[in-house]
């Protein structure tokens, strides 16, 4: 099933499975990438991403069309992420090193040690800052879009991105 995202959501509201499948296929990479930037390991991120799409299925009627469907999905993912924050911190200490040693599917050209260093540096940032950096630097959203998705004031987003970038740059060292 093709069509724009708003039509997909309208079909989902009517119970269309094929529209739901298309929505997942179209946005899973973006949502999972965002959540992987926030969590300690990819399996936590994928778990939250699954919950995000389930929420989209049940809450399709709540979409008001004020932003894009992807922004709406990111807002749901962000709320899920904040709700699970405490659980991650317990799990993160336990298995971060193991999961980070696994190869990523997206960019095999990035050396493992760089990815591990990046992940550790990201995890050292406060959650809000991490989300802002992931959205603006990682996914290419504007500060305004990120502010809307995260429901954080624009000035705070700008400051989060600036500080986050400053903290992440040193991990690049002489390799860049």
């Amino acid at each position: 099933m093709e069509g724009d995202d708003e039509s997909l959501l309208a079909a989902i509201r009517d119970g269309s499975d094929s529209a739901f499948n298309t929505l997942i296929d179209r946005h899973q990479q973006a949502v999972r990438t965002f959540l992987r930037g926030l969590t300690a390991n990819p399996s936590d991120a994928d778990d939250l991403a699954q919950e995000t799409f389930l929420a989209a299925w049940t809450q399709a009627k709540s979409f008001r069309g004020q932003g894009s469907v992807r922004s709406w999905l990111f807002s749901i993912a962000w709320r899920k992420a904040k709700g699970s924050q405490r659980r991650w911190f317990r799990a993160a200490r336990r298995d971060t090193a193991y999961h980070e040693s696994l190869p990523g599917e997206g960019a095999p050209e990035a050396p493992a040690e760089d990815r591990i260093a990046m992940r550790q540096a990201l995890l050292s940032l406060p959650l809000d800052q991490r989300a802002a950096v992931t959205l603006v630097l990682g996914s290419g959203y504007t500060h305004e879009e990120a502010a809307k998705m995260l429901a954080i004031p624009l000035g705070t987003i700008k400051s989060h991105v600036l500080r986050g970038r400053e903290k992440l740059r040193p991990i690049l060292g002489d390799r860049s």
Binding site: R32, F53, W57, G106, A110, L137, G138, R175
Partner: protein, 99 residues
């Protein structure tokens, strides 16, 4: 130099991106949705059964057992209602055992 670093930063931030096409992920979402729907139906059914049992026990206790046939009627009605509500699933399950 600064731009190179920023580009490298972006590249590393995207390094953990999952594949663009991932049918396994979609299947996991659909499976989870099925599980949730099944759990919800099951809970509804159990709650309904509980209400019927309590109502039946109360009805029977009113007449020192004289209302036992009424109880049987209520159970029968509950079974018929249950079948009508879940006939799709019942047929699907029974279909697995047919030759």
């Amino acid at each position: 130099m600064s731009e190179d670093r920023d580009n490298r930063l972006v590249e590393l931030l995207r390094a953990d991106a999952p594949p663009e096409r991932d049918p396994v992920f979609r299947l996991k979402v659909l499976e989870r949705r099925e599980q949730r729907q099944f759990q919800r139906r099951l809970l509804t059914m159990l709650a309904g059964m509980l209400v019927i049992l309590v109502g039946m026990g109360f009805a029977i206790s009113l007449g020192n057992g004289a209302l036992a046939p009424t109880g049987a009627l209520i159970v029968g009605a509950a079974l018929v209602s249950g079948y009508l509500a879940f006939r799709g699933q019942v047929r699907r399950i029974l279909g697995r055992f047919s030759l």
